[in-house]
């Protein structure tokens, strides 16, 4: 894919690359837009600029070390990824998780959803040039961040979930603090909902932008608020309940706007549901142990974990071979499911809508980049490389272009010994 602006000879359209490094993108990702005047006629996305090799790295570490690696798949939905992975491992090892632990997982999971949606609201405000909203929503997000730090010991990577339960219990004082914070946040969210419904700047800027109708959402496999804003009634918490969700009463928020405005309303509605779930979980929290012993070696088997992350359904597949290291781990982050829909949403819209349309799926590209497939464009031959050969081919690629990394490599090797 050429990374420069070029005019297409037959139609006169102009191809403009956006990214991998671009001010409107928060993470490196490459979009190639074909423009006719100001309108986008075709769009394509190219993933792979954030590949970190996490799945492969999981296979080389023990299950306990994987807890921390999986958590770092994403900074915003760290609890979602971790719990999803742990649920899969617990299914293989047939570990019975205590009720209290399941309730704590739900509380932290919903607090994380609040933190993620408030963050999204700020980012969306920023992308449409409404920075006042960014400042206020991020100020309120601090309340939930402080609560998470108090419960888990950290603001971002909570590390609450572990095999067989959770690492920390919730004390009665903490329950009081959380309930107090939830009251404040609910008050604020009501204000934001009123703002979203009455502020003309928001309605005019977001209505009709990034349309993804019900049938398209299903066809392109969209998940989470992106799909629910198009009327797709789908939520893993209700459809395939995990942790303590079977005992929670909540409604799945759907909307029929099918645009970015609809996605804003769905996320705000989900915030209100999250407050209600947290209240239910904290008031009905059963007494008892919050952790059971889990074996270091997981028996052979395979399982899939499903979790409704703030951005949509997260899927982790784990295969074990009886040792203390997994044989295969596969992560399907929600952004991977939503990214195909973005190219559809961009078509027939103006170039200026591109940042908000991309931001509306709440993308996390580092979550998404998983696989490197090598395809020779001239011969159309596909090739997969193992770890060492991938490294060697990288060194050779640069050597051909006059950059020699072999000395740097030697130096790095020595310093890591």
């Amino acid at each position: 894919m050429p990374n420069k602006i070029r005019k297409l000879p037959d139609s006169g359209d102009v191809q403009v690359p956006i990214g991998p490094q671009h001010p409107s993108l928060k993470e490196p990702e490459s979009f190639l837009l074909t423009l006719r005047g100001e309108k986008i006629t075709a769009a394509s996305v190219r993933l792979g600029y954030n590949h970190r090799g996490i799945e492969k790295a999981c296979e080389e570490r023990t299950y306990i070390q994987d807890l921390y690696l999986i958590e770092r798949v994403c900074g915003i939905c760290s609890h979602a990824h971790l719990t999803c992975f742990v649920q899969a491992v617990e299914e293989i090892a047939a570990i019975e998780v205590p009720k209290r632990a399941q309730y704590i997982r739900v509380v932290v999971g919903e607090l994380e959803r609040i933190h993620s949606h408030l963050l999204w609201l700020g980012v969306a405000g920023h992308e449409i040039g409404f920075d006042t909203l960014l400042m206020y929503s991020w100020r309120d997000r601090e309340i939930v961040m402080d609560i998470l730090a108090d419960l888990a010991g950290n603001r971002v990577h909570y590390g609450v979930t572990t095999y067989g339960g959770v690492k920390r219990d919730i004390t009665p004082e903490q329950i009081k603090d959380v309930l107090k914070a939830v009251d404040t946040l609910e008050e604020r969210t009501k204000y934001y909902i009123e703002l979203a419904k009455n502020e003309e700047t928001i309605i005019k800027r977001l209505s009709g932008v990034g349309m993804l109708k019900h049938d398209d959402a299903l066809r392109l496999g969209a998940v989470g608020p992106t799909a629910r804003a198009g009327g797709v009634d789908r939520d893993t918490r209700r459809d395939d309940p995990y942790a303590a969700y079977p005992e929670m009463k909540f409604k799945v928020v759907i909307d029929d706007h099918a645009d970015v405005y609809g996605r804003t309303l769905v996320r705000m509605g989900e915030l209100m549901e999250a407050y209600s779930i947290i209240r239910q979980a904290l008031t009905n929290m059963p007494e008892g142990v919050f952790r059971v012993r889990a074996p270091r070696r997981i028996p052979a088997g395979e399982a899939t974990g499903r979790y409704e992350a703030p951005r949509g359904e997260d899927v982790h597949y784990v295969k074990s071979n009886g040792s203390d290291k997994p044989e295969r781990v596969k992560i399907r982050a929600p952004t991977l499911a939503n990214i195909q829909a973005v190219t559809h949403m961009l078509e027939d819209r103006y170039l200026a809508d591109m940042p908000i349309v991309v931001a509306a799926i709440d993308p996390c590209f580092s979550c998404t980049d998983r696989l490197i497939g090598i395809k020779d464009l001239r011969t159309d031959k596909k090739q997969t490389l193992d770890w060492d050969n991938l490294r060697l081919s990288g060194i050779k690629w640069y050597q051909k272009r006059g950059v020699d990394f072999s000395r740097l490599n030697e130096k790095l090797k020595r310093s890591f010994k």
Binding site: L67, D150, A152, G153, N198
Partner: protein
Amino acid sequence: MKTPGKILMQVLESVGKKPATLNYPQEKPPMAKGFRGKLKFKPEACVGCMLCTKDCPSGAIQIKKLGEKQFQCEIDLSKCIYCAQCVESCARKALEYTDEFELANIDRGKLKIVYSAQPPANTQPPTNVQPSTNAQPQDPTQK
């Protein structure tokens, strides 16, 4: 009523309020209870089971045997991700986390912290060896 500038009232309400930010480092925020900061090692409690080194996701912790029931612990703060799995794994509670978080240093060597039961007799002890009598580890930032 659908009008632009709906958030203006909110902005005006905030005019008289004090800033939400702190004047760090003059004012320091209280750390959350149970915050996972710099690790502390108690040599007298260690039995040398090596579970901490085995479970550490980043290879930041190393235990050396100095003699009978005497162990030395070397923690590399530049590698540590402050997950406190070693504290979880330690059956003897020889490791614990503190709420220290200002750990940045220009000198890489100072990021290695050694807690030793007794400095080895023949070798030169490292610069920041902590003898067992001094339980408080030296903080490189508070010099």
